[in-house]
């Protein structure tokens, strides 16, 4: 009886705490008083998928911007003003992304936004930023984000174009005289965009798509799809995906003793994927930003010094491999700090600055223009291959 009474009291106490919590939550949440008014600083918003299903994308981006902001502020800030980053988490979710962009714009009054990490969240966030006239510099790759350019005046992107990756692959196939292509893609936004371009651009290069298969991110075995590709008489396989499941393809090909060459997309640019595929990954070819193979790049290359610095700094700070995704964030902060230094924190001025910006970044040599809000072409990619479990430049 006593125990029961005590328990009831406990339950009541916890109930009270919970309810007080909710009341507090509402009051606190809707208190519009801003705690962050610091007019002597530059406020920049960042939205990345820091948790959730795409967190492996957002994590290196968050790490990179935090590292750079600290470095900038330690060396006296921009024009003596502190760079304040407001970092929001989208959880890879469209709804959260919309909320996060609004929060950055309306609550923190940021002058520009870097991110989101994913194409889907970017597409959801774009109408908000466009309507509020705040520059949004996405770290996702989908080209559809910038179309039509008249309605996307405030939107920029830093990741290389998917279509340029396809061009790079097809150029190489033409050189090798291979014509019959078996396409296999992951069922994510990245995979679908790649599939679209691979099929659409095939006639331009005289390619024939003889098989078109997909796999889900959770699949554990793709031999059925590969058998179909084998039976279709394909001379080459292009595997386009960004999820870990793509490492199973080379392993399954080895299992099926398929000897035809395998091309991957720039989504393969994660050394863990190559390590997971082990021996089977040796010799496969994929286009990627040069940051993935800095060590094997000739030192005279214009991007070399910058990328080597970023790589060594990132890897010593976070004990993790550098990635192209983090590189996009690096380029973004680089671009924005340049803009803030030149034109201050007026959003329209920043937009105009970016539209004419030219600079060397980790993703390539950027050359923005009012017509081109990406600023990269296929030269941003280098064909890489896997050698002894490492990414190396195919033809240095």
């Amino acid at each position: 009886m006593m125990i029961n009474l005590r328990r009831q009291k406990e339950v009541r106490a916890v109930k009270r705490v919970l309810w007080c919590g909710f009341v507090l939550m509402f009051v606190f949440f809707f208190s519009t008083a801003t705690l962050y008014a610091d007019s002597k600083a530059y406020h920049v918003g960042c939205i990345f998928a820091i948790t959730g299903k795409a967190s492996w994308l957002g994590e290196p981006q968050k790490n990179t911007v935090e590292m750079l902001a600290q470095k900038i502020n330690e060396s006296g800030g921009i024009d003596g003003k502190k760079l304040v980053l407001h970092i929001e988490d989208t959880q890879g979710d469209n709804t959260r992304a919309v909320n996060a962009v609004k929060k950055l714009i309306k609550k923190f009054n940021v002058c520009a936004i870097l991110g989101p990490s994913r194409s889907g969240t970017s597409m959801a966030a774009i109408p908000v930023a466009q309507a509020a006239n705040i520059p949004l510099i996405s770290c996702a790759s989908a080209e559809i984000m910038l179309q039509p350019i008249e309605e996307r005046g405030w939107i920029f992107k830093l990741a290389q174009n998917d279509s340029d990756a396809v061009r790079k692959i097809y150029d190489h196939l033409v050189k090798r005289g291979l014509k019959k292509v078996g396409v296999i893609t992951g069922t994510t936004g990245f995979g679908a965009a790649g599939r679209d371009f691979l099929i659409k651009m095939a006639p331009e290069y005289g390619m024939e798509i003889v098989a078109d298969e997909t796999y889900a991110p959770g699949d554990t075995d793709m031999t059925a799809q590969l058998v179909k590709i084998r039976n279709s008489g394909a001379q080459v396989i292009v595997n386009w995906s960004i999820v870990p499941a793509q490492s199973i393809i080379p392993q399954n090909m080895k299992q099926l003793k398929m000897e035809i060459p395998l091309y991957q997309s720039h989504g393969f640019a994660n050394i863990k994927y190559a390590q997971a595929a082990g021996e089977a990954a040796e010799g496969l070819i994929f286009p990627a930003a040069r940051i993935m193979a800095v060590d094997t790049l000739p030192k005279r290359h214009p991007q070399y010094a910058l990328m080597a610095e970023y790589k060594s700094e990132y890897e010593s700070t976070y004990k993790d491999n550098v990635s192209t995704f983090g590189g996009h964030a690096y380029d973004g902060i680089h671009l924005l700090s340049g803009a803030l230094e030149k034109v201050g924190d007026d959003p329209a001025e920043i937009r105009n600055y970016i539209e004419n910006a030219r600079f060397v970044g980790t993703g390539g040599i950027f050359c923005f223009s009012p017509k081109d809000h990406c600023g990269l072409d296929k030269t941003a990619f280098e064909l890489l291959t896997v050698k002894n479990g490492k990414f190396v430049v195919l033809e240095p």
Binding site: S55, E213, T220, T223, A224, V227, K228, Q255, K257, A276
Partner: protein, 299 residues
């Protein structure tokens, strides 16, 4: 390489077997807890993930041998299962099924968060247990890891049959599953049986995670994906029926592989699901479930 019609068919069957055995293992974990509590444990996928991640840490991080790491990882997740039952399921005074289900959802979110903070957000990989040189059977190839998966599933099924039919504890658990009140009257401590069921199902989840990690690369967010298919398989096999889960699991895997191979890989999962639904509509208690048993656990 020869690739006739039969060889292809055999290849699809091998693929289906591999996928199916994994589904079956996850489904068996669902079944054990369902039998004891009438609840679907939404944290089952998290057990799988924790098992896999622990295995990676022990083998590649600490350099333990596979057998040793296997045992420790399983033990680790089993303890987590016991803790989960003691801290979140046992204290509930008036357990309704829906309430317990939401509790398991909350626990799964918590476990996911903990795994994210401990293991980070990237994927983790480990080598196949015994190389990746395939065996060739009638032209079709099969990976040693697939044989491991099939073998371990077989061992677990045999161990289950022995445990539930020949040991006192196992018989008590079955008694509880059939009729809890009657079991209590016969002197069985039903709360302990619930704890035991969480321990067992966490252990099996861990084993599933351990053997699948070399193939898929584990990351903290995979639980839901692994769990949901397992849930479907458990239901179609007949909830509470472990043999049903094994057969249904392999059936689903093979169906997926065949529809991927012969119809369309874009819709392979959808086709398999559709067939599952049709099975349910024809047999509302699953392939091997008895409507008698399921009526006792309605909510």
């Amino acid at each position: 390489m020869e690739s006739g019609g039969f060889t292809d068919f055999l290849q699809f069957i091998f693929m289906g077997l591999q996928r199916g055995c994994i589904y079956a293992l996850v489904a068996m974990g669902f079944n054990i807890i369902y039998s004891a509590t009438g609840v679907i444990n939404f944290a089952q996928g998290e057990f799988v993930v924790l098992g896999g991640l622990m295995m990676v840490t022990l083998t590649t991080g600490f350099g333990l041998s596979i057998v040793f790491a296997f045992l420790i990882s399983t033990l680790f997740v089993t303890i987590i299962g016991i803790l989960m039952e003691r801290c979140t399921i046992n204290p509930v005074k008036k357990p309704t099924v829906l309430r317990l289900i939401i509790i398991t959802i909350a626990v799964s979110i918590l476990l996911k968060g903990v795994a994210m903070i401990i293991w980070g957000k990237g994927s983790h990989y480990m080598r196949h247990f015994s190389g990746s040189d395939p065996f060739v059977i009638a032209g079709a190839t099969i990976l040693p890891q697939t044989l491991w998966i099939i073998g371990i599933l077989g061992v677990i099924v045999v161990a289950f049959v022995v445990f539930f039919n020949l040991t006192m504890t196992g018989k008590s658990m079955r008694a509880c599953a059939i009729n809890r009140d009657a079991a209590c009257l016969a002197g069985i401590n039903d709360r302990n049986m619930v704890m035991l069921s969480f321990a067992l199902s966490a252990g099996i989840g861990a084993v599933a995670g351990i053997i699948v990690t070399p193939i898929i690369q584990m990351d903290y967010a995979r639980g839901a994906l692994l769990g949901l298919k397992g849930f479907g398989v458990a239901v179609v096999g007949g909830l509470g029926n472990s043999l049903g889960a094994v057969i249904a699991g392999i059936l689903v895997g093979v169906l997926e592989a065949l529809s991927g191979g012969y119809i369309s890989s874009h819709y392979m999962d959808a086709i398999a699901l559709l067939i599952l639904l049709l099975v349910l509509f024809v047999r509302p208690s699953g392939l091997f479930g008895s409507s008698e048993a399921s009526r006792l656990k309605e909510f």
